[in-house]
Subunit: 448 residues, 2 copies
């Protein structure tokens, strides 16, 4: 009743949604369902007035008759019918970018879930927003329904962040969880993930770590007050992880997760995406299946971890609507939490200078002296070993019950903290020595 009276006096926020896939349809549905509550929360009504998508006739379970229809998202962005563009098209360039630029240039607010766009052009778009007095909000771009953008930008205002790491891709975590729990291969789990809709037909973008890298680029900027530098990210995916690696990790007290890690080191900001051994007792190790999680280490708060769904219509829409509500209230703030001019150009910490523990799995020729020669190479590079596990493969043992056939045997080394450079150098020598039958598997260990 109060709101009805209010809505005739107070200008509603008129929202245009570009892209009506699962997320867009969920956003439109929730804005309708929560109309009254959102008006009370924001002090003004929020109304979808216009939409744009590729196919007008697809059944999305929502009634489009009340919305102006645009075939072209850029025309939607330019329309005087909207105050706020919700960009859910995707892609780092093309119509998504043009639509966002068009809206911002016209002083319209933009809410987007587009991580690729932000990773490539986030700083330039923030400048454009700033110049036009518009908001640019992107909670849904990283870690789906988890409010990590708001946490970094607002809740940790008084903190210096030293490290941020997270499981930012549900597809990879689903695959690694199933490989671990059921002893399956990467290929088998990927096929299941595709069948269940957790992985795309072309899974490269997810499983090779690029999706995680886009999200990490955005979070790094928010955490350290630096310009987005996606190209600096060292990226490795999970396709080389074998059931044996997961089994060895388990025996040694670890789990393997694809992490995005951003850390302030002596040499600069280190940004890396790679399969990572994490202690089984750590909070991040408990996160299984498609769930995402982010841990932030900072000077005042020490450590906080946020866990939740990283994708899906509802969770992503939840984040999009939080941003729309901030826009409606006028509390969206600065895109990266401070003026763009204050964002520093990050000094890239080269991966060669990364320091940490390593898991190394070698396929070692089963002949006298091989293990000793490898240990010697490690010692020469000043690498201290925490443990060595040597295990004849079951196949080799069956074929050759007496042993000493020369068939390769897996040897796993766990090192104390050392540098990437030292590890790479030592492994080159081990390889040149001719003791190993295939390329070494190297997985970094992340301390708690």
């Amino acid at each position: 009743m109060t709101m009805h009276a209010a809505s005739s006096e107070i200008r509603p926020l008129r929202v245009g949604i570009a892209g009506l896939g699962t997320v867009g349809a969920a956003v439109a549905g929730i804005l309708k369902r929560q109309e009254n509550a959102l008006a009370a929360r924001c002090g003004r009504p929020i109304r979808v007035t216009a939409v744009s998508a590729r196919n007008r006739n697809r059944d999305r379970g929502i009634d489009l008759s009340g919305f102006a229809w645009f075939d072209d998202p850029v025309a939607l962005a330019a329309s005087p019918e909207i105050d706020c563009l919700v960009e859910l098209i995707g892609g780092s360039d093309g119509p998504a970018k043009t639509a966002v630029e068009t809206a911002l240039s016209a002083g319209k607010h933009v809410v987007t879930a587009n991580k690729a766009l932000l990773a490539a052009h986030g700083v330039a778009l923030a400048e454009l927003a700033e110049a036009n007095g518009a908001a640019l909000a992107f909670e849904a771009s990283s870690a789906g329904g988890i409010p990590v953008v708001k946490t970094l930008r607002e809740a940790l205002s008084g903190n210096n962040v030293s490290r941020l790491y997270g499981i930012l891709n549900g597809t990879c975590n689903y695959i690694l969880s199933r490989m671990e729990l059921e002893g399956l291969t990467f290929e088998a789990c990927l096929k299941d993930a595709q069948r269940l809709g957790y992985a795309e037909a072309d899974p490269t973008f997810d499983v090779e770590g690029f999706d995680t890298a886009h999200k990490l680029a955005i979070l790094t900027s928010l955490a350290f007050g630096t310009k987005i530098d996606a190209e600096a990210i060292h990226v490795e995916g999970i396709s080389s992880i074998t059931p044996l690696d997961l089994k060895m990790a388990d025996e040694l007290g670890y789990r393997i997760k694809l992490l995005g890690v951003a850390e302030r080191t002596k040499t600069g900001i280190e940004q890396r995406v790679h399969p990572t051994m994490v202690p089984k007792s750590s909070a991040i190790a408990q996160v299984m299946g498609v769930t995402n999680a982010v841990t932030i280490d900072a000077d005042a708060v020490r450590e906080i971890t946020l866990v939740g769904p990283g994708a899906g219509g509802g969770p992503t829409a939840s984040a999009v609507i939080a941003d729309i509500a901030d826009v409606a209230r006028g509390t969206a703030g600065q895109p990266f939490g401070m003026p763009v001019a204050r964002l520093e150009q990050p000094t890239r910490a080269p991966m060669q200078r990364h320091e940490g523990g390593y898991y190394i799995r070698l396929a070692v020729a089963d002949r006298p002296g091989a293990a000793a020669a490898i240990a010697t190479r490690m010692a020469q590079a000043d690498i201290s070993l925490e443990s060595i596990v040597q295990r004849r493969s079951e196949i080799a043992a069956q074929r050759d019950p007496g042993g000493r056939s020369g068939a390769p045997v897996p040897v796993v080394l766990i090192t104390y903290a050392t540098s990437e450079q030292a590890i790479r150098g030592a492994l080159e020598k081990v390889s040149a020595d001719g003791h190993i039958a295939e390329a070494p598997q190297v997985i970094r260990i992340e301390r708690e």
Copy 2:
């Protein structure tokens, strides 16, 4: 440089801190250390101009010479030298309440960490803030450094919350963690907690669940858009938990945590604080030691969990400063996320109507027919048992190797979902039957 120019034009936010304990000193220290970063984040400088505490001469590791000193926090609150009062005195009434009311009545913003004050007078204070156009922010009042207030109030704007539960008291979680891991008694762990500064000399407020209840009252209001109703909370503490309960929980696949739970049920809003069995695989079960955690179930986002330090100078100051930064930016919003007039009077769901699974430990007289009689009483009350574990105590076995001495034997029942009323009724009958030697231990099981 930019900020220097800006600060001469833009009015700084002048902060007065009432209470200079660990948190107050940390807030003053961080505001000084992060002066430039906060000015960039907020668009204006934040300056502590005045302070108040009981003892002016105590060494707090901060230089007070630049601040106006007030012996009386109420005089500080009334001072024209401040725009924002940071209330860190504590207590539901007395000077804390008067100071906060004085500040709000004068249109000054208030940031407080005072859960007792909010649990008792939160709605009235929010009304006062609203009437005077002032902010009332209280992120630090619940779960310390975890941004749960901001998450409920802003990040979940588009959600209907169905349940919220959390570990909100580090003292209790520390004691239960040590009891579990080391097999110690409650009393022994409490003594250690006191020695380490994790528990007060009079620990009642923490260990009997009242501290958790205050925090839960605030979070319930934010989660469900209801008026604070602290008196409706069913409160049980952890002092009756024995090492045997933790051992049985472990064997049955559970951990015991003191949870605050708020849930929308058929009969209304259920608010309860009690020791709870949680599945070992759940996110909340992983939270050990003084760490806090909150899980929120909501329709759009499904489930998110926030984990972090619930107390301590740095983490609490982190939350206080996030609020001060929101005040400085002008984005603090409405205290409970909507106008006070929109907050509903919650319908109390009576504890007798609570439905869930139960762990029941009985000290049963070791004679024929006792177990059968108990099982019959359960069946008569329509309670289905998931498992029954009967174990003769080691002491009884030593004393009486042949058994059948009549010394009581612990019997543990795990029920399927039933009502509190049914359980209480059945246990009254079991007790009247004379088969049990002491009051039954009843611990509710929380589903994931």
